[in-house]
Structure formats: C-alpha cells, structure tokens
C-alpha cells in the first residue's frame, strides 16, 4: 500500500483497527505500464527528493528507476493540471495505456490487524539556516546524502563528482562530522547519530575511487566505527586509500574568492590555529525522527525518549510502550543497516509472540491444476515475444522476430505482447497454452533472473510442468545495449530466440523437491541471546533444545550490573531464566557440548555429550548458534602482577561488595581499548566506553571528591548513550585521549602507582597518581567457536567470530540454510542488541518452522548410470559435499561403482558436470545436450 499514511490506531494487542489514508496517485496502477512517455512530455520540473535535491524530476514521475511498484505518480503540488484544470494535461494525452486519472481522490481504509509494526525510519538533519557551515548559502557546501547521489551512477551527474557551483572537477573535499548530532546548541540533538562516521569514511573512499588524486579530509571529534569490520575499514581508508583524519571541531566555513572555494578554520591536534582551503565541504548530517512520525507516535499513544525516539526497554528492544505495537529501525534510536534489519526480524518475532494462535488463519497457499503428462507428445513450442512497451520494440523489429520464430522447428504457436509480464497477458498465456496444447514455452523478453519465477507460475496454472520453459533475454542483453543498430539488434533477437527454442526442445519436466521439516530448534549457548531466542520460539509454539556448556544459565549477563539506560540486568536475567526453565516446550541440557553434527535445513542431527560422557542425538530443523564471547586476559599494564590493576568486570564485583580497595581509593584511572583496536585485534568491543563511563558516574555519585580519569582512543558512547558521556563530563570525570602509538604506561613508584600518558594540549607527558587502575579489556570469541564452526561447516571471521551470510542484509543468517547466529558469537554487543539479534534469529527460524516442508528447486545434478563409471572425480570437486560413491548392481547382478547425489545438499552449480570425463553427471535444465543445442543454434546462421 503506497502513498498511505496511518491516521489512527484503535483497539488493543491482538485486535487493532488502523485507519489508513491513501493519497491519490492520479495514475491508475493497473493500467500504468511504466513506459515513461508521460514524464517525457510533462513540462513541469521540480527538485527531486530521491536525489536529495541535487537533480530535477518532472511533476509526473517514478521515485527511482528500480522503484517497486514501478508505477508513475503525479505530484499534486507541482502538477499544472491539478492546480489549474485544463491548462496542461500533456501526460493524459500521450499515455498509451490511458492510465492518467486527474479525478483520483483520497481514500480511507479501516484495517483490522492483530499487531502493528512501526518502521517509519528517520530523516536527515536539515542544516539550512545553521549559518555556521554556510549550507544553502554557499553552493559547494552539500550534505552527505547529496554527495551520495553525486557519486551514484543513477544520480544527477552519473557518478561524476563535480562542484555544484561551476561544474568543475573536485580536487579537495572536507567532511565535517556531527552536524545535527552531539550538539545541543545548533539543533537540540544531543545524541550521537551512530552512522555518520562510517558513511563519511565510505564516501571519502568511494569519492577517491571516482576521482584519482582527490584529497579527502574528515574533521571529527571521536571516530565511532564500532560495528563489525568497521575498524578495519577505517584503517584501510587511512592507510591504503589515504583519507586524512583530523580530530577537531571546525569553527566555521567561509567563502574564499568568487570561484566557490571554501575556507575552513580550526584548531588542530597540536593546538595550532589553521586555515585551509577546499573545493567542496560535505556535512555529515545526523538522523532525527521526522515530524510526521512524531504525529504518528501521538496517534498511537507511544511514549518517546527526550530525544524523540520510541522509548523501549533494553530487554524488549522492539516493544513500544503500547502492547501489540512494535518498533524497529531508526525509530527507536539512530542505527545502521544491519542493526535495523535485525530489528525488522526481531519485531516480526515479537509480533508473532502474541499472534501465534492465529498463525496461518488469514493466509492461503496458492493452488494449481494437476500437471499434464507430456510424455510421448510431439514438440509444440509456444513463443511469446515481448515489446516491453518501447523498451524492446523501440530498438528491435519485434514483428520480424515473431515471424521468424514461427519458422523454427517445433514451434507451434507465436504471440506478440505489449507487456508479456502484465497480469492480463498471464491470463492470455494460460488460455493460449491450453487451447493450442503447447508443451514447451519460450518467452523472448527480459531477464530470467527477475521474471522466470512469474512465468513458471503462469505455465503451472496452465497445467504444464513449470520447468518446460526458457527465456530469451532480448531486452537487457540486446535491445538496451544495441540501441543504435536496429538491424543487428533484430538479428541478435532472432538468434537468441532460436537458441532458447533449441534448448527448451530438450527440456523435460522436473520435479521440485520437498524436504520435511523437523519443527524443533537446537539453540547452542545458554547466555542472554540463547535464552531470549529459546524463549521467543517457545512462545511461538515451537519446541527447543537448549544446550549450555557450563553449569549455569545466563552467560556474561549475570555478571553485569546495569544496562546503559539503567535497567538492572541480574534481576531481568533471573526472570528470563525462570521463564525458560518453566517452559514445557524448552528442554535444557546443562554441562553438555555438541560433539557431532550432520544434516541440512529442516533435518539436522546433532550429537550432544554431557559431563558423564553420555551421548544422545537430537533431531532438529533449525540451529541457532549463540555461544557468546568472553573477556581477554591482558598481558599489559601490569595486570598479572598487581592487585591494583583490575579488569572492568573484576572492578564491578569489588564495587558491588563494597570492597575496601574501592572504598578507600581516591584516584581511579580507566584505560580503554585494552586488547581491542590493537594490532592483533583490530575491532572495537563496542560496550567498554559506555561501561567505564557508567562506572565513573557511579563513583562520582558516591563521592564527588574522587578523581576519575578515563584514558581513551575514541569515546564510543554511540546513539543515546551520548547523554551518559555528557553527564560524566559535567560531573568532573576527566577524559584524556591517547593514540595507539602512545599507549599509557603504568609505573610503580615508592609503593604507589602512577599512569603516564601524553598530554596533547600541554605537549608533555602527564603523570596521574592512581589508587586503582581499571582496564577495559577486549571481548573475544569463546574457545568452542572454532570447533562448532567446523562441525556445522559455517565460516568464522578473521577474529574468530561467526560470519553471517551478508554484512548488511542477512545479519543473522548463515550462508548455509537453516543456521542462524545471535549475540556475541557474532560480534561484541550490548544487551539490547543481543536480544534484538536473538529475536531476529527466532523470527528467521520461524519462517522455516511454520512450514511443514521446504521446497527446493529441481535444478539439481543428475547421474546418468549408463555413462558414470564411478571414477569419483566429481566427489572431490563438489563444494556442498552432495556426491557420494556407491556400489550398485545392474540387471545382470554385476556390481558397479556409481555416484549418487543428495538432492537436499546439491545447489545445481554443475562443477561435477564440468569435471566429468564421461558425461555421466549433469545438471537438469543445463544438460550437455541442451548446452550443445544452444551452441549449435547460436552458430547456425
């Protein structure tokens, strides 16, 4: 439902009525074929929001080229006709489909739902009128989103970085961080937007790729690259790409001369006043909640934080203050893409928690007619040639191609369609296939990568096996790339159609392969993430086996005190542990380890071994790895030698039991990044800055006279944690920055300790007397991770954390289906992020568990027993271990070696086919015969 806004939410969890206002599009979605004629004729140009106002669009437009739905819309504010009927109407005249409807009106829908998930996102801070940075005044001061559009191939300059003022190439760019973040004076946004450091580095690196020799400088306060693999990217940007990083706040941006150059003045790290000139200044603008979202929160009666984000508990990070209304993404605080995606899944899990009884009540499976048996029928190929509006027909003589197709051997019927993919054509295709008893179908149109599934459904609806189908890609790989040569493009379209016809002639029906799913999940690890995942799955009605290696549940979390927002962790943990223990659907295996694992999605078999060395096997459909992390035991700063030097967790314990060592101490020195962001471990442990700041605040609260120093590399109190950092500074905690090459030194002088650190302001070493020295030690993966990774054949990253399938879009999935990761096994993270990922893993698991079976496609390797001689060359090359050597008896009772394919493991890649010396194995749909026919057809003319 696009162009829709929620105007009211009534009811309660399980039964809401949501009022949705649908704004008029003025374009009939069913009729619009997205040919773009309307936009060509539209005389009105306005700023394009998609391009962050760096370019123009028409009043009738499509948001972006790959938009879904790909349907045009009219901007009522800009449209000439809608403002003065009768004055223009050019689009309505030109539209070949008659889709323009100026009489379209606003509609209101009342929709009954069980739960509401709010994912309204953020807006970038608008620096217009901030004066200091000259945005809106000097054309070469732009926002990061605008730079993003300039760098994009689909942007206004097709990826060429030029100055907005004069179109000249850019040589020197400055990025200014924290514009609209960590700044209460300028905009009232005191929080950190969490993503700007990383996007600025990325843009600086990409800009340098676009413009060789480009100089890029990033002016920052703290470099907050705390996400997985972010610090490595930061190091690469500095060392390999040559991005310059300057720690300072720029005072102002002023014009230099009339050419559009800009002058920056700032105080550098050595305390010197500097003036520097740049061609372009990019403002790394922060994120904030848009006005319309605040209105929505009001309508839904949702509590917000002082920073205007949805208020959530760290233990229920996607639940708003209203039961049954959930939040995910930047609405509950600024966050990056993987965290947002995780929360999207987590919100699904949280919603499913309350809706589980009504699962599958409103959804329905599509049904198809029984398949026609084509065995013994002579070839009757149907060819459908698509015009794709003017996309193909504009550059290819489609009629000529269709006439030619009719002459090809085996072809019984040819049609031409304006849009073969449109809904009415699908109905027509079904009719044509039935009437003409067609038994193979070729569509000459766009790419099978996007459209093959649609046509598979269509021919299934016509009673044909869905694999009796082939596409000729005459758009993406023909009409669009040979726009200037109609004759050649037409000839190539004929060739491609001939090749597709030749291939499909050898295509037989294939069966999709269904694997039943064991509706049971194995959760490995009984820490916070494992418990949260198990709990949610059980609430959704799925049984769980929970395995814990130690003798206690709760993992690291039971040793922690408060979350960043001040929620008491042990208390919540005991509640969660109790719930898990009391849940009949959860079986807990304490002091038990995983020793063997086999199987695949839906059908894993894992062998567990308990402390008495007893083994048992568990069948499960899904595996969630939540093995957590542990702390590093450092070799630095005299940790192993002196009782005054303690780790943060040890300090917490001493503080909690009111140990004399703490109560009698007056001077505390916290040293950050002990083992993190170091040579061996170039990653951020993410939680330590906040942890030390919290401890410092507690100490100061107890006795304001205590002297507290935090020695840090970059303070990474991201998102709304920034308020803690501010509070600590206000309370008099002293923050001193150090660099990796100038680590602090711990000295013992006359029985007392002092910490030596370089003072950047005074340019000399500073000696701090210390009664206690607290080390923020790194979080490292648990030592069982490596073995587990081998057992389940899943990858680890450079540092031993589990590697997800995709850093951005699949942050909880493994590349292998049916396996998921959650919590610190994936990367160090605080409580609410661990829980979000655990819920996400549960949601992803539920997408499998809620089905009775998984369907795998029919594109699998098949063995030809007449040719396979059991040489087994294919066994070793198969990357999925899907092939095994077996012995089989032939009709005469003689035994032969032969290979066998496990269809559930086979991905149809065909490495076996490329290796086989005897043509004994090939992939269905890409057999030797089919490829040869294609080659022959390609070279036939």
């Amino acid at each position: 439902m696009t162009l829709c806004e929620v105007t009211d939410v009534a009811g309660s969890a399980g039964d809401f009525t949501v009022t949705v206002k649908e704004n008029p599009r003025y374009v009939d979605m069913d009729k619009c074929i997205a040919c773009g004629e309307c936009a060509t004729k539209c005389p009105k140009k306005v700023d394009d929001e998609y391009n962050a106002s760096t370019g123009k669009r028409k009043a009738v437009y499509v948001k972006y080229a790959q938009a879904v739905p790909l349907k045009y819309q009219i901007d009522a504010e800009a449209c000439i006709w809608l403002n003065k009927p009768g004055r223009c109407g050019a689009c309505a005249k030109i539209c070949p489909a008659g889709a323009i409807n100026f009489d379209d009106t606003e509609k209101t829908h009342n929709i009954n739902v069980g739960a509401v998930v709010l994912a309204p996102g953020f807006e970038s801070f608008d620096p217009t009128g901030t004066e200091v940075f000259g945005y809106g005044e000097y054309p070469n001061v732009i926002t990061a989103m605008q730079l993003e559009r300039y760098l994009s191939a689909s942007g206004p300059t097709e990826g060429h970085l030029v100055r907005p003022s004069d179109g000249k190439p850019v040589r020197k760019v400055a990025f200014l961080q924290c514009v609209g973040s960590r700044d209460e004076n300028l905009c009232g946004n005191g929080y950190c937007s969490s993503v700007c450091c990383m996007y600025a580095i990325k843009e600086a690196v990409i800009a340098k790729d676009h413009v060789p020799g480009l100089a890029t400088s990033i002016f920052y306060m703290d470099m907050r690259t705390h996400g997985k693999e972010f610090d490595e990217y930061y190091t690469r940007a500095r060392k390999e790409s040559g991005v310059r990083f300057v720690r300072c706040r720029v005072n102002g941006v002023e014009p230099q001369g009339d050419e559009g150059d800009l002058r920056l003045h700032y105080v550098n790290e050595k305390g010197q006043q500097i003036e520097e000139y740049f061609d372009m200044v990019v403002l790394s603008v922060g994120l904030q909640t848009p006005k319309h979202v605040l209105d929505l929160a009001k309508k839904a009666d949702i509590r917000l934080t002082p920073h205007n984000f949805a208020a959530v508990s760290d233990f229920a990070p996607v639940s708003t203050s209203q039961a049954g209304i959930f939040t995910c993404g930047a609405f509950a605080g600024p966050k990056d893409i993987p965290q947002s995606v995780m929360e999207g899944s987590a919100a699904a899990a949280a919603a499913a928690d309350i809706l589980a009884p009504a699962r599958n009540e409103l959804t329905q499976e599509k049904t198809f007619p029984p398949e026609r048996d084509i065995l013994g029928e002579e070839l009757r190929i149907g060819v459908f040639v698509c015009h794709c509006g003017s996309n193909i027909a504009g550059y290819v003589d489609v009629e000529d191609v269709a006439n030619y197709a009719d002459t090809l051997p085996g072809v019984a019927h040819v049609e031409r369609n304006l849009f073969t993919c449109s809904q009415d054509t699908q109905e027509l295709m079904v009719k044509v296939i039935k009437e003409n008893q067609l038994n193979r179908i070729v569509v000459a149109a766009c790419t099978p990568r996007t459209h093959e599934p649609l046509f598979h459904e269509t021919i299934k609806a016509a009673g044909l096996n869905e694999y009796l189908f082939e596409m000729a890609n005459i758009r993406n790989q023909n009409s669009w790339v040979h726009t200037g040569d109609k004759k050649a493009a037409t000839q190539k379209a004929k060739d491609l159609t001939r090749m597709a016809v030749a291939k499909v002639a050898w295509q037989g029906p294939l069966q999709n392969f269904a694997v039943p799913i064991t509706r049971n999940t194995l959760v490995i690890g009984g820490g916070l993430a494992g418990l949260a995942a198990a709990h949610n799955l059980a609430r959704q009605g799925f049984p769980v086996d929970l395995v814990e290696r130690s003798s206690v549940l709760g993992g690291n979390a039971i040793h922690l005190h408060n979350t960043w927002s001040g929620e008491h962790i042990p208390q919540r943990m005991y509640g969660l542990i109790k719930d898990v223990r009391n849940d009949d659907l959860i079986t807990i295996h304490m002091e038990t380890e995983v020793v063997e694992a086999e199987g695949y999605v839906g059908n894993f078999i894992t062998t567990l071994r308990n402390k008495n060395n007893e083994k048992r096997s568990i069948e499960h459909g899904v595996t969630i790895v939540a093995t957590g992390g542990t702390r590093l035991m450092p070799d630095e700063y005299g940790y192993r030698d002196h009782k005054e030097v303690v780790s943060a967790i040890e300090f917490d314990k001493l503080y909690e039991i009111r140990d004399k060592q703490v109560s009698s101490s007056n001077s505390f020195v916290f040293i950050q990044c002990v083992g993190s962001r170091d040579v061996d471990r170039n990653y951020c442990s993410k939680v330590c800055c906040t942890h030390s700041v919290q401890s410092a605040i507690e100490l100061k609260k107890e006795n304001p006279k205590r002297r507290i120093y935090i020695l840090y590399r970059d303070m990474r109190t991201y998102s709304q944690r920034e308020s803690l950092y501010k509070k600590a500074r206000e309370m008099g905690v002293i923050f001193i920055n150090y660099e990796l090459h100038g680590k602090p030194k711990v000295n013992k002088v006359d029985g007392s300790f002092e910490v030596e650190v370089w003072d950047h302001v005074l340019h000399r070493p500073l000696l701090i007397p210390a009664d206690m020295i607290i080390l923020a030690t790194a979080i490292i993966p648990n030592n069982g991770a490596k073995k587990l990774a081998q057992l389940y054949k899943v990858p680890l990253d450079n540092f031993g954390f589990f590697q997800e399938a995709h850093a951005k879009l699949r942050p909880v999935d493994f590349a292998t289906e049916g396996l998921f990761v959650a919590g610190m096994a994936h990367y160090p993270k605080p409580v609410e992020e661990s829980i979000a990922q655990a819920l996400a893993a549960s949601a992803r698991a539920a997408t499998l568990l809620s089905k009775k079976q998984v369907t795998l496609d029919g594109i699998k390797a098949q063995v030809d027993p007449d040719f396979c001689d059991g040489c087994a060359l294919c066994v070793d090359v198969c990357p999925y271990h899907a092939i095994t050597l077996i012995e089989s008896k032939d009709d005469q009772g003689e035994s032969h070696n032969l290979v066998e394919v496990n269809l559930a493991h086979c991905k149809g890649c065909g490495l076996c086919q490329g290796t086989c010396p005897k043509r004994g194995i090939s992939v269905a749909g890409f057999t030797f015969k089919q490829l040869e026919s294609q080659i022959e057809a390609a070279l036939a003319v």
Partner: protein, 65 residues
C-alpha cells in the same frame, strides 16, 4: 564485407550473467557479436563445450564467472 566475429560467452547466473543484465539496465553499449549462454556456475562449462563452440564456427569463447 567487414569481418564480424561470432563469440560465445558462457555466463554464470549469479555474477557475469547478472552483470550483463546490469549493463543493459545502465544502457551500456557494446558490439552485438556476443551470444550469451546462461549457466548456473562457470564451473559447469565442460571443456568439450568450448571445443564444440570453436569447431562449430565460433571465433572466440568467453567463460565468465
């Protein structure tokens, strides 16, 4: 008549075939002499397929993956 070579390209569905699609989406222009055969992985292409193309009259074969 000028020399117009015929080139057979075996393209992996997941990378080079997708790239060829993207070239279209981006309207990049290239000579129309190439005939792409889609495979599920470039590792699927048996040496015999390359020989078959060459003996069948192709002037060049590309295996892209």
């Amino acid at each position: 008549m000028s020399y117009e070579p015929k080139i057979i390209a075996f393209c992996c569905n997941w990378c080079s075939y997708a790239a060829a699609d993207l070239a279209g989406t981006s309207r990049m222009q290239y000579p129309p002499n190439i005939r792409i055969i889609r495979v599920m992985c470039s590792g699927m292409v048996h040496p015999e397929m390359i020989l078959k193309s060459l003996t069948g009259g192709a002037d060049g074969v590309m295996v892209l993956g």
